[in-house]
Symmetry: C2
């Protein structure tokens, strides 16, 4: 059983002011709650990059309001014309069903997405003197998304510190406290923090309710199951017959 | 005297398809001509980030047309609200007169600007299978802009390769062929390549003609003078009395 004390060890040393990317999904929402509980001032950034599941942005706003945090939705839809072939942004490519770590999920990769979003977060952090940019990558992301791996995190932090030398906070860091954790660990941490899971959105298909069959829905269901945490998500009835 | 042969050594090994950031200024315009002359396919990206000198974007388009290259102006004005305090984007901060390398020019730093623009270029490069992202940073930028230094270039390349492992071109690189050159060297290279310098824009103030007194104008004038290259730029008459 994870205790509240060692939860705070996930963000150590303590962050004073975090610029945090919040998608509205489970991971980033739990992350925002964790940082808030640890006493950090929060600046939350969400991104509209033309993702078909932009439903998630409304969920991000709910969390920002619940935590009384500054929240900006950054319009990056101007990038859309430059990026072709990802199922998340290209309506001619279908979002695959199946397991989140399947090779088929490669079509959901938006090239260089995390570096772009993190760089915007770094720009904001430098502007306001925040001492950290924090994001919610976790171990389950690693097989498919190279920009969620520890080696990327270290390279990105090095780049960001170098790019802003003399302008960023002297102790500026880029953190991903969940990077070695499974999504079920994050569900458990969220439960401990009292995160209202119904106020999070995972489905890549962007319907009225979670489809229950796309990679992120399958991953979400499994995370709650493995963690032994009640799943308040409403899944599409069609998914129940699987 | 620089020969055409060793000009091509600036981009070695040869690039097949370059995604290149073109501001419309002297450096990036000469860079586009250099890559074109070397036989690279060019994808040119310009950025509208709310800079007061967005006049430069029309100059970027002229070069794209002259080189018959694909050109996209990426709208990043959505970032503007996030970035405060730079003279280039904040109309409440004056663009300083003086020398480009003066400490006063620090107010023209847009936090993390190059990392954001380069990351968008990387995204495009991965989307279209280009083997390089190339930008026009030069040695004169180093004193003021940390995101123009060799240490940044190396850190950025490392990050970009890591972020797109398995998706980017197998020989993907991030290059800044002018990073060790003075701006006067670039003027000399441009003269050798026959670059129409009148079709470039440097002034940060964004008036009808070059002001002649802001840091980039002073730097531009000096570059032509030192290189012994005729300067076709029309400077504001007010600047002549200095």
């Amino acid at each position: 059983m994870t205790t509240m004390t060692n939860l705070q060890h996930l963000v150590n040393p303590k962050v004073t002011h975090a610029v945090t990317i919040i998608s509205g999904g489970l991971d980033s929402t739990v992350l925002a709650h964790l940082l808030h509980r640890g006493g950090a001032k929060l600046t939350l950034l969400s991104f509209d990059y033309g993702q078909r599941h932009r439903t998630e942005l409304a969920y991000a706003r709910r969390t920002a309001e619940a935590l009384d945090a500054e929240h900006h939705v950054v319009d990056l839809t101007g990038l859309l014309a430059l990026l072709t072939g990802s199922a998340l942004t290209d309506s001619s490519v279908d979002v695959p069903d199946g397991h989140y770590t399947d090779a088929a999920m490669r079509v959901t990769v938006v090239p260089n997405r995390n570096a772009i979003m993190l760089d915007v977060a770094v720009a904001r952090a430098v502007s306001v003197g925040a001492d950290a940019v924090v994001f919610g990558a976790h171990a389950g992301d690693h097989p498919i998304y190279p920009d969620c791996r520890p080696v990327f995190l270290r390279a990105f932090e090095q780049m960001a510190v170098t790019a802003n030398e003399g302008f960023a906070h002297p102790r500026f860091r880029v953190l991903a406290p969940f990077i070695d954790l499974a999504k079920s660990d994050i569900a458990a941490i969220g439960a401990q923090l009292g995160v209202p899971f119904a106020d999070t959105w995972s489905c890549y298909k962007g319907g009225a309710v979670h489809c229950g069959t796309c990679g992120t829905c399958v991953e979400r269901r499994e995370a709650f199951e493995v963690a032994g945490v009640a799943d308040p998500t409403i899944y599409s009835p069609a998914a129940e017959v699987r």
